[in-house]
Symmetry: C2
Subunit: 350 residues, 2 copies
DNA sequence: CTCTATTGTGCACCCGTGTGCACAACATAA
DNA sequence: TTATGTTGTGCACACGGGTGCACAATAGAG
């Protein structure tokens, strides 16, 4: 049988509320009594029942983390950042996967609300303003992560996707590529706009046939890239929305008999742990996944403590990571040595 | 303000217990009243407060998942399997990281108990019988995952680590290797015993200098492998406790000027998603991570429903995956074509 | 018509903790 | 002595929902 404050109270011949107050360090309890209560609590191995206290105080010390897929390199690292930070503040974290399906997201949302979570960190599957507005109106502190609508009056922590997409595209352009494909994610738009913007600077229109949409998986990348390499005039470079997609693209490219980077240059996004060990080592855009989660959790803690009058909007700057999977066009060199755009990248970061 | 059953009751002029019963489909409520109550509940957007019902029924519909590190490829996929299965049954999952530190594990354990979880799936940092026994005595249904003490009267789901270690070592031996290093994990012993056993069959004693211990990270693998390649007589093959460690080893091997597999053969364990895309594609042992989590969750559900009289002990069979990172010694071939031990593996699986 | 099932609903109280308020015990000042 | 704080403790009740039991309403049997 679990120990309750009433049992402690009984043994000491006091009322259970006295025990409750003593354990919560209420100033109204005498120092002497407080000590007696605390030491007995320890002796009996008392563990407060957070379900009960959650009911009466409406604070559960639980938060929810809603992401597309915890098994990805990206979100699993984000989750770790969230959990570490939350734990230090005494919170537990519920993990919820949506696969970017709106119904699943709703399901999890309701489940979290029913459980009385104190806050939610969410990477929404649905970016419609009305929908997000509704989430914000639910009365639960929210922090958006990785995805958001900047115009909304809400806290968020994201990577500057636009900058990342822009830097990479600019880099590929500087290598002489002009037919650059971008394998898009269904929800992700920022990187795409960066890509678009860089092309525009070179006077290149976006060719829809070069921007297939895929989910964020290896299989999805393979499928999308397959279409690209089978084109009459395949792109000379393929930029993928993330590293796993690049992995799939890598397979498709090779199965079609093309070499990387000799025939087709390949780039990813995320700088997953494995990226530098691929053959060739993958050129990609680094984003700080753990820090993303850490920062989101910090902000959520502040929101929950009411220490935040205005929403906090944080954009972490991504960094171009040049390895060997992209080559200079019309040149035997595999990759160019520190092109102008890297300098640009550095200035953006600073 | 959140809708409660008392509010619904008031609007209908009935007692709140009638509402409670109607929503829980008690047979004592008339069909007519049940319909009226349910439709009003839907209309008002009633969401049951699981904190409150958890207090009175002692069932929270929450479970805990305690692992070393959710950000690893292995545990993140396990977690996904757990979450998917639990969600279908109406449960939410708390995620807890221990980094294999016993104090952190205890901390999380207490946190979960305080929150009244209905069950716990745990990959314990500490495999001491007395400790595990104590966990089992806490009165909470438990399923061990990935690690356990088979002698204990407890449910578990693991990969047959021994078989995996044995198969891989046998394979390396069949390629002609005799100086085979094994980069061990701190906690993991099964794979090591398999390695030991295979060596014994060839009359080779275990050389402690060839079996450095490391954590399960890339950095750890790099550090451990560095020692190995710097030896006067380096091993001809390095078998790593998992794929990330192999990644680190790969780096160390190359930084020392050795080629893979020409100078040193390299093998991993897990068959992480990225393994086939490495250069050379990594020979490894496949284990089903998602299924591991799925099965553990299924068993926990049965335990929580009291449908399990005896503990369920499940061992999933690993499969040797031969790629190009191991070569035949004294032979120009990179890898041997289907050696006897693969046949052996197949029989073990069946 | 009374007696007895059957069915549906309400009452009281529980789950474990928290909190406003009353009040007892004691000390100090008038 | 009485009036007036302090300080510490207990009481009642709340949080939202669940459950054993009593009992009212209705129906059917004798």
């Amino acid at each position: 049988m679990k120990v309750t404050i009433r049992q402690i109270a009984k043994q000491l011949g006091v009322h259970h509320t006295t025990v409750s107050r003593a354990l919560r360090n209420s100033p109204r309890i005498s120092e002497n009594m407080r000590q007696r209560i605390k030491s007995l609590a320890i002796k009996l191995g008392y563990r407060p029942n957070l379900v009960a206290s959650g009911l009466s105080t409406r604070k559960t010390f639980n938060v929810g983390l809603i992401v597309a897929d915890i098994s990805t390199t990206f979100f699993s690292q984000v989750a770790r950042g969230v959990e570490d930070t939350m734990r230090r503040a005494g919170y537990n974290v519920f993990i919820c996967n949506t696969d970017d399906k709106i119904e699943d997201e709703k399901f999890h949302w309701d489940a979290l609300i029913s459980r009385g979570v104190d806050g939610i960190i969410i990477s929404p599957a649905n970016l419609k303003p009305r929908y997000l507005q509704k989430l914000l109106g639910a009365g639960v502190p929210i922090v958006f992560i990785d995805r958001c609508l900047p115009s909304l009056r809400a806290s968020y922590v994201i990577t500057d996707h636009f900058s990342g997409g822009y830097q990479m595209t600019k880099y590929l352009l500087s290598l002489g590529h002009r037919r650059i494909a971008y394998v898009r994610g269904e929800v992700e738009m920022g990187r795409f706009y960066g890509y678009e913007h860089a092309l525009k600077e070179y006077g290149i229109p976006v060719d829809n046939s070069l921007t297939p949409v895929c989910d964020f998986t290896i299989e999805g990348g393979k499928k999308a890239a397959k279409k690209l390499v089978r084109m009459e005039h395949p792109p000379t470079a393929i930029f993928c929305v993330n590293d796993p997609v690049a992995l799939g693209a890598m397979k498709a490219i090779r199965e079609h008999g093309f070499r990387i980077p000799e025939d087709i240059s390949l780039a990813g996004f995320d700088n997953a742990d494995f990226a530098e060990f691929l053959q060739p080592p993958l050129t990609t855009v680094h984003q700080s996944k753990y820090e993303l989660g850490e920062e989101a959790a910090r902000i959520l803690l502040q929101e929950m403590n009411g220490k935040l009058r205005e929403p906090r909007k944080v954009e972490l700057k991504p960094v171009l990571v040049i390895r060997d999977s992209c080559r200079h066009i019309g040149d035997s060199r595999v990759n160019s040595a520190l092109p102008e755009c890297l300098l640009l990248a550095t200035t953006i970061i600073a």
